[in-house]
Amino acid sequence: MKMEKTKKTKKQSGAVGSKWTPYSIIVGLVILIYCATLFGAIAWAFLTSLKGRIEYIRSPITLPKEWLFSNYIKAFEQLSANGNNIFVMFGNSLWLSILPPTINLFTSAMASYVMAHYKFPGRNLIWSIIIFMMTMPIMGNAAATYKMYIRLGMYNSPLILLRNIANLGGSLLVIAAFQGVSKTYAEAAFLDGAGHFTVFFRIMLPQAMGVLLALWTMEFISCWNDYMTPIMYLPDYTPITTGLYIYQKETERMLNVPILFAGSLMVLIVPVVMFTCFQDKFMNLSFGGGIKG
């Protein structure tokens, strides 16, 4: 009886109503067509990646005469940009995807924890600044930002990672995650003689780790796909995404599209695998969070 009651309260809103209506058929078809274009394009790119260069130029729509899986090995040998081979570019992609979210979320967790669980002078001011920055768009400071990076020696240097330190007060999502952790855990640890740092690192941080890991994965994917930051600020540290763009510019008319596609599809593997592995966490964070209303 009790179980039944719990089940009823957990039933999500919207799960009522007839399934097959003109609306559901039309919108369902539209979504299906959209999915077909998405997967169709990727499938076409995959089939193209198995063709020879001339074969692709002659006929981009036919199936490959001979399935040249060797193109994937050739991609490793031939793809290069700014003098960097594919291994160097994948290496750059790795540190440019792992370190920024780690720095961002660690500093964000530090600040957000304090914002969520401590009272101190200036806290309200920080809140007001966070709200101001969210609602008041300040545009066109790209030039000043670029100059600042040059002045601080961050341009074309791994020091560019300093820009990934979280903004004032951390992030609203992380603050909400810490607010969701009961203060009684911390109080019990304080009674046992733990200090503020011990409580944060040993008790509160592990409790918020689920949300932090989901956010880390999302940021990792976003950094992996980022091509603009390296183009603008890290010309000597070309990651694979930027490398693909530069390779196309460098080869121009001699571009080997099947090899390019082979390299491109390899770039897709990392984010897609990560998304597939953590999709539940992604969905919980996305559909469970958001704006109240």
Binding site: V16, P137, N141, A143, L168, Y227, P271, V272, G288, G293
Partner: protein, 320 residues
């Protein structure tokens, strides 16, 4: 007098006593250590950068000094240049005017598709209609896939020797000229790509908001024989208004940054300059800093009040 001040300070800090006495001493050191990095980051990359951006807007480069250093003078030259560019009767494809026109086109044409699809898809997923379980994560994919890869695929589909052209030849209609080179079609190709990748819109936020609506409200409405149209517009939409409000605000503040991957798609050719690309061209390629800062200041002066008005208006709708 001193005692009085001490007491006042003591009283002031008393309101922040949220921990037992032995922990109070270390508390402020702890808070300082935890916040200092984010405060510094904010001070350097927000406050200092924006102050610098503001002052640069009023500077004019006048030449080089004896030690080869750049010399500037305070002036309104950047604003005058902006005014002359905006009132110029001819047409320059790489001007801010052209960038503004193209950005507004992409904003309006893009949202004309993504705003309706956001709500149509969200309602579909909320109602758990056929395929929801799979669609919910497939529709998330565009935000996971790399722009460089998807643009590479898209370019090779629409380029002169690409898939579209090959299909057209196969159907006996002849080759399709490069859709990304012609000024007539390139902008629409950018729109096509943006729509393709942005089709589901903010469906995650809207569906999440719909899912938080108590089921009893919907059940009682259905008992009263409500139609799906009335259910959505008269019941669900007002209940998710705070989410809609935030999305509207996001849209307004992003009016001038609606561009898409211009660098990858067209490299700014064929009349596809957008504001984002114009900034890239000015700052990174041309190393011009003062004029873009002045334009940025003007854009802020236009967008900030609009954002505030939209917020006020949407607040009014909510209270109404």
């Amino acid at each position: 007098m001193r005692e009085d001040t001490k007491n006042k300070i003591k009283k002031y800090f008393e309101r922040y006593h949220d921990y037992p006495k032995p922990l109070r001493k270390g508390k402020y050191v702890f808070i300082f250590c935890m916040l200092i990095l984010t405060v510094l980051r904010w001070a350097i990359f927000y406050v200092a950068v924006n102050i610098d951006s503001f002052t640069m807007a009023f500077k004019e480069f006048t030449g080089y000094g004896p030690n080869n250093e750049s010399i500037y003078q305070w002036s309104f030259a950047n604003f005058r240049l902006f005014w002359s560019e905006m009132t110029y009767q001819g047409w320059a494809a790489q001007s801010f005017k052209a960038a503004l026109k193209n950005t507004l086109f992409l904003f309006v044409a893009g949202n004309a598709v993504t705003i309706p699809t956001t709500y149509l898809i969200s309602y579909y997923l909320y109602k758990k209609m056929p395929g929801t379980k799979h669609f919910i994560w497939i529709l998330y994919l565009p935000s996971v896939l790399s722009s460089v890869v998807m643009v590479t695929i898209f370019r090779n589909i629409v380029e002169v020797n690409g898939l579209v052209s090959a299909l057209s030849i196969a159907m006996g209609k002849g080759a399709v000229t490069d859709l990304l080179i012609s000024e007539k079609t390139a902008k629409w190709m950018v729109w096509c790509y943006n729509t393709w990748m942005g089709f589901p819109g903010a469906y995650v936020l809207v569906t999440a908001a719909l899912k938080r609506i108590p089921e009893e409200i919907i059940e009682s409405a259905q008992l009263d024989g409500v139609t799906p149209k009335t259910e959505f517009f008269k019941i669900l939409f007002p209940l998710i208004w705070p989410t809609v409000q935030v999305l509207l605000l996001q849209k307004v503040t992003a009016i001038l940054s609606a561009d898409g991957p211009i660098l990858l798609l067209t490299g700014g050719s064929a009349d596809t300059y957008t504001i984002g690309f114009w900034y890239y061209d000015q700052v990174i390629l041309s190393h011009s800093y003062e004029y873009p800062s002045a334009v940025g200041l003007l854009m802020t002066l236009v967008i900030a009040p609009i954002a505030l008005i939209v917020k006020k208006l949407t607040d009014k709708v909510e209270s109404y």
